[in-house]
Amino acid sequence: MTALLDVRNLAKSYGGVHAVRGVSFSLEAGQILALIGPNGAGKSTCFNMLNGQIRPNAGSITLAGQDITGLAPRVVWRKGVGRTFQITATFASMTVRENVQVALLSHHGKLWAAFRYAGAAYLKEAEALLALVGMEAQAARPCGELAYGDLKRLELAIALANDPKLLLMDEPTAGMAPKERVDLMRLTAGIAREKGIGVLFTEHDMDVVFEHADSVMVLNRGELIATGSPEAVRRDPQVRAIYLGDGLLYDAKHREGDAA
């Protein structure tokens, strides 16, 4: 059986800066994989290449046996890849429910319909998705006035709208209160395991990482320096030296407010 996601020798540079180089890994369905690394390590760049937002300089990305390198994000999405952004990207002029409805309309290929009321489309599915992320009570609220944590949850709901096989989550809990972070990741992990979705996520909060990740990769200056189970990575001397330093690894509180 082929892996859900198979990445080979991915590389991207900006001018002289090698943001990502020679990254290879694979991800199975239902597996939760964490990508960690210090600021500027190249994590977001990786995510952006995976969903097609930026074109890699080299390397290949294979989704369920299909080469998706260099495809546009919207094409990648149609192949079953959902994602959330480090800085939330939602539709501020719509209600929470409408945000999800647009994603559903797109998923069902109904976006070109010109003479139907979109506010009435896929109501049930939208409500169900919102309930899944615990946002059902806020369905009618304007997206523009949501608290940041709620926006992150809304993003998750949107990302789940196309029944994704693979979920890419770039710092899904950045900017949330510590309890909220744990809750959200628990929620995500639950959904992923239940539906057999492969999840690749990045996170600065190590509590979150070590509680949920089946496996952890460490990126530094664009290169993977360690891969393995959370325990193995935690013990890896190179990781400790380069990235985690003296005990930061265990001290999530220390990074509080880091998002700022």
């Binding site: 937002q53 919207r74 800085i87 539709f91 409408e98 647009v102 003479f115 608290a147």
Partner: protein, 634 residues
Amino acid sequence: MEFILVQTLSGLASAASLFLVASGLSIIFGVTRIVNFAHGAFYMLGAYMAFTLTDRWTGAFGFWGAIIAASLVVAVLGALMEMVLLRRIYQAPELFQLLATFGVTLMVQDIVVLIWGPEDLMGPRAPGFTGAVTVFGRMVPSYDFLLIALGPVVLGLLWLLFHYTRWGVLVRAATQDRDMVAALGVNQKWLFTSVFALGVFLAALGGALQIPRTTVSHSMDLAIIVEVFVVVVIGGLGSVLGAFVAAIIVSELNAFGILIFPKISLILVFLVMAVVLVIRPWGLFGKPESAPRPAAGLSIRPWRPFTPAERIAVAVGVFGAAVLPFFLGNYALTVGAEILVFVLFAASLHFLMTVGGLASFGHAAYFGLGAYGAAFLVKFTGAPMEAALLVGPLMGLAGAVVFGWFCVRLSGVYFAMLTLAFAQIAWSIAFQWVDVTGGDNGMLGIWPSTWASSPRGFFWLALGIAVVGVGILRVLVFSPFGYGLRASRDSALRSEAIGIDRRSMQWVAFIVAGTFAGISGATFAFLKGSVFPDFLGIPTSVDGLVMVLLGGIETVSGAVVGAVVYKALAIWLMSQTDLSKLVLGAIIVLLVVAFPKGIVGFLEDLRYRLRPPRANGAGPKTAGYGIAKVEAAE
């Protein structure tokens, strides 16, 4: 060979004043993101002021002192405008500043006539630069050499200013990233004001230096403003060097172009701009614009369709309009029909701007194409009005299909300028192709069928077209297509990541908007009984923009109200006073300051405040919002 050299020199001299004005505009835009429509007005004021001062102060010192003093005085006026007017509206939706400066431009046009009189004024020639220098046996005015030298000198001075003064470094930093400068704790207010003053100074200097070459008149501003915009865009917004290079390219192409095509001047700059933007979407020296300002926080109340009660109100309103012919006289009905035509035109632009997020500066092109389409059918095939109204707008549609395909590849100001370029190209075809379009004399005798030839009949026809048109556009707003379009406006990133094909959606929106503009144009042709190139002209496009902004850019159908108010006001003022521009400009400025969300936006705010919708307290209200703000600024 000598001839080529001399012609090059002439071109360079023309480039110099263009560059001065353009560099000012570019600097202002780079830092404040304001599309300063009043830049031409300051150019003109510089010339008038210099005329007055050079008249008083004679001699070489007097002359050059007057030029500098005039520019300084106008720079102070510019700073005043920034402080009194623009500072109040930096937070308003983008383009609102354009509207405000447009209002100022209108006012200045009348004010200079009131102060300096209607006649063209001719100032003195520059002392010491009245003669000519013989170059290869041809005489070149020595003033040309002065101008040719001045271009690089000003460029160099600006470069020094931007690289060797703290202020200049701040300006450059602000051009790169406004928020960063705010974060550095710099007093942004004064930075903006000083930048504005510098930009206006350059414009005024450009105007003052024209005195030795031409007369000063109250139409100088319009003669230059569009060209200057074009130069700035070709060079790349915010790039002074770009403005310099673009000014030279445009002037030289013109100098040599007229040798082969003596009529090319009319359209040359727009052709150049269209080509440049298609090949280099950010101009020659521009950088890709950072993602347009996030819409978050702008429109906190999501749109919704009318409630049953509102539907009834609208139905009553339409009915009320429909019975007007029983109460109003012929003139009022004809004015009413004209307003209705512009209601649909404004609504079509509104659809493109608010739902599509694409502010077009050349929407008149499709209005005009629709009008000419109808006129062609009547004139060349003898088609009746009914057929012409149906088929004519297809020309607007066709134009939108072609032009839109190029335009939706760009965004922001570049999009706006490419639409402008295409509109000007369409205009110049209508203007030049005399055999087919009748040139500036237009096509006459496009009168409606008998049943609609009475003011009453035509009013009903126009009402029907406007109601159906606005209705369809409204349905589209709330359709899946409208949602998808709005999604790609709200967040390009997110919409692309959920499979929305942004370009195609925007292209279709462009075509829809163009078609409805074409329908209103065709109706207008029959209302006026004629079509003219000015239907496609810049003033028509600007009128449309003003209507949309006045109505409220964040509303669903604000343009309807904006069109009614603006058009009624414009027609009424036109009929009442010769100073209609002064009054209209003042009203626009007041409205902009009083209702930065537009009239309908203001009314909605009011209603919301008086009767907030059911409170929905679920979820933490503000916790984490501060973080969101900081994150967004990261």
